[in-house]
């Protein structure tokens, strides 16, 4: 197996505050890596540095062996890296179907060919499949604003997969989702992982969700990696219990 993502000694400071302090890890192809840690441990900042939303203070990010440190988020996305955010980030005024088409259209041809081409950028069938996959078919023509929170969360995640990403970074996909929808979300994510062979990195606070979903877990505390291993190992690690699980 080859490394899809490799993060080397990544650092990010905001003035005197060091949010990410020399984090290194790799993600193998097809793997689902979970990143956990208490609030303020640097998880989302780490994501934002990997994904070009923030410029890292030091360190390197490699995608398939190619340096992509500080690359703009849109260029990274076109290289096959997609993400979701901690807070819902959908387009409420657009229909569910248009949200999905928008999520994939920039991967179809050039800007000029998209202007001359079909309004759906040839993505109607793919959007239909994604609607079916996330069981949102009957809501296809509703405005995203009119969906329940759980349905919006499913749409949010579905959008990240419209372009068939090689690597998806999901920031708290389970946040605020009810238990029934949560099981469905986990099952859908595992199905995508199995069917498309996509590689995932998932930040999550919901321990049950993350332990059931991920093959390997990385634990951050105060911007540093304090433990990593399979879910059972991490659960037993005294440093993790002290830093995170022990406090809850």
């Amino acid at each position: 197996m080859s490394s899809v993502l490799e993060v080397r000694d990544l650092k990010k400071s905001f003035g005197g505050i060091v949010a990410v302090d020399g984090v290194s890890f790799g993600v193998e192809e097809g793997e689902i890596l979970g990143i956990i840690g208490p609030n303020g441990s640097g998880k989302s900042t780490l994501f934002n540095c990997i994904l070009g939303q923030l410029q890292p203070t030091a360190g390197e990010v490699h995608l398939d062996g190619r340096p992509v440190t500080g690359m703009r988020a849109c260029d990274l996305n076109r290289l096959g890296v997609s993400r979701t955010f901690q807070l819902l980030q959908i387009f409420p005024q657009l229909t569910v179907r248009k949200n999905l088409i928008l999520a994939g259209q920039e991967h179809q041809g050039t800007m000029l060919s998209r202007l001359a081409g079909r309004p759906d950028a040839g993505l109607s069938a793919a959007a239909e499949r994604m609607l079916g996959f996330f069981r949102l078919e009957r809501l296809a023509d509703e405005h995203a604003a009119d969906l329940s929170y759980g349905q919006q969360k499913l749409l949010d995640v579905a959008m990240a997969f419209m372009a068939g990403p090689r690597l998806a970074l999901l920031d708290e996909p389970a946040g605020g989702v009810n238990p029934t929808m949560l099981a469905s979300l986990r099952e859908r994510l595992q199905a995508i992982n199995a069917e498309q062979g996509s590689t995932f990195v998932v930040i999550e606070h919901n321990m049950e969700f993350v332990m059931a979903l991920c093959n390997r877990i990385l634990v951050l505390d105060e911007g540093r990696v304090i433990a990593q291993g399979d879910p059972a190992q991490v659960r037993r690690d005294p440093k993790v219990i002290e830093a995170y699980l022990g406090r809850s």
């Binding site: 849109c74 509703e142 969906l147 959008m159």
Partner: protein, 317 residues
């Protein structure tokens, strides 16, 4: 419900188009002039609706682009250039200047961007007013000729009205095509959530510049028609007042709605004329109407219509 909404919109569109075709037959030259002005201003407002309504980039510089298009056409056609070349030049040069004006939008947003564009409008206005050797200064440029199309003179008010209407139709079809293409979705994404848009591969930088350039280009085309419509231009119409008026057209009609500028321009161009029977009170009445409309429907006339006719959602529990 969705079908009946589309049917009603289609019928209203057909009736509106039929009205525009037959309207000048029963109007005096001044009425036809006002209707032509409506068509010309609608083109500029369509441009601003692209920049502001769809792509979410505030601009108070649209009058400057109308002015650049108008001055280019007036200056060159009075020097013997054919109208079509100045018309194209007006659109293309405003597109290029609009692209450049878009660069500040990559750094600043909202009211800061409003001030950047306002400063640009003022700068262009001062050039029109002070550079007398080029623009004629406050004396302006007179005797701007109207074009001849395939040997048919557009000199009469009715002929020139149909000429403007044909341009409005062309601009409308081109804008409709653009907005139903993936570009339309990308513009909306830029307005609604630029950070998520960027993470979905939307090159927000390029689309921001394009939104400014396209809006400015349509401003230039509107100006290229404005000059032969009024046949005399001076700097006054292209001051900040027109930019604010165009902004009013977009917001009143329904910012981000395709037909918003058409309705907004009716309110801003035609309504003051219809209210003239109230004599000294017409501007006050007009201002009150605008206040009431904005208070009850900040999303404009079409936003109000959309809210009243939208079917109930099926999704939420």
């Amino acid at each position: 419900m969705r079908h009946s909404r589309s049917l009603a919109a289609g019928i209203m569109l057909a009736l509106g188009a039929a009205f525009l075709v037959v309207a000048p037959l029963g109007l005096k030259p001044y009425g036809i002039f006002i209707l032509s002005m409506w068509a010309v201003m609608t083109i500029a407002a369509i441009g601003l609706n692209l920049t502001l309504g769809y792509a979410g980039q505030i601009s108070l510089a649209q009058a400057a682009f109308v002015g650049i298009g108008a001055y280019l056409t007036a200056y060159l056609t009075t020097k013997g250039w054919p109208f079509w070349s100045t018309y194209m030049l007006g659109g293309v040069s405003c597109f290029a200047i609009g692209w450049l004006l878009g660069y500040p939008a990559l750094r600043v947003q909202h009211h800061y961007l409003a001030f950047v564009t306002l400063a640009f409008n003022t700068l262009v206005y001062l050039i029109f007013r002070n550079e007398e050797w080029l623009t004629g200064g406050i004396y302006g440029i007179s005797n701007v000729p109207r074009p001849v199309v395939l040997g048919w003179s557009m000199n009469g008010p009715r002929e020139f009205y149909y000429f403007c209407l044909a341009h409005l139709a062309l601009v409308s079809v081109a804008t409709w095509w653009l907005l139903r293409s993936p570009w339309g979705l990308a513009f909306v994404a830029l307005r609604e959530n630029p950070i998520r848009a960027l993470s979905l591969g939307v090159d927000t930088r390029r689309y921001t510049l394009m939104a400014f350039a396209l809006g400015a280009g349509l401003g230039g085309i509107s100006g290229a028609l404005y000059a032969p419509l009024v046949q005399f231009i001076d700097p006054t119409p292209f001051a900040l007042g027109l930019s604010l008026n165009l902004l009013l057209m977009v917001v009143l009609g329904g910012s981000g709605y395709f037909f918003g500028p058409f309705l907004g321009a009716i309110v801003a161009v035609l309504l003051p004329e219809w209210l003239r029977f109230t004599e000294g009170f017409y501007l006050m009445g007009y201002a009150l109407l605008v206040i009431v409309l904005m208070a009850f429907s900040p999303s404009g006339l079409l936003g109000l219509a959309d809210r009243l006719t939208r079917p109930a959602p099926r999704g939420a529990p």
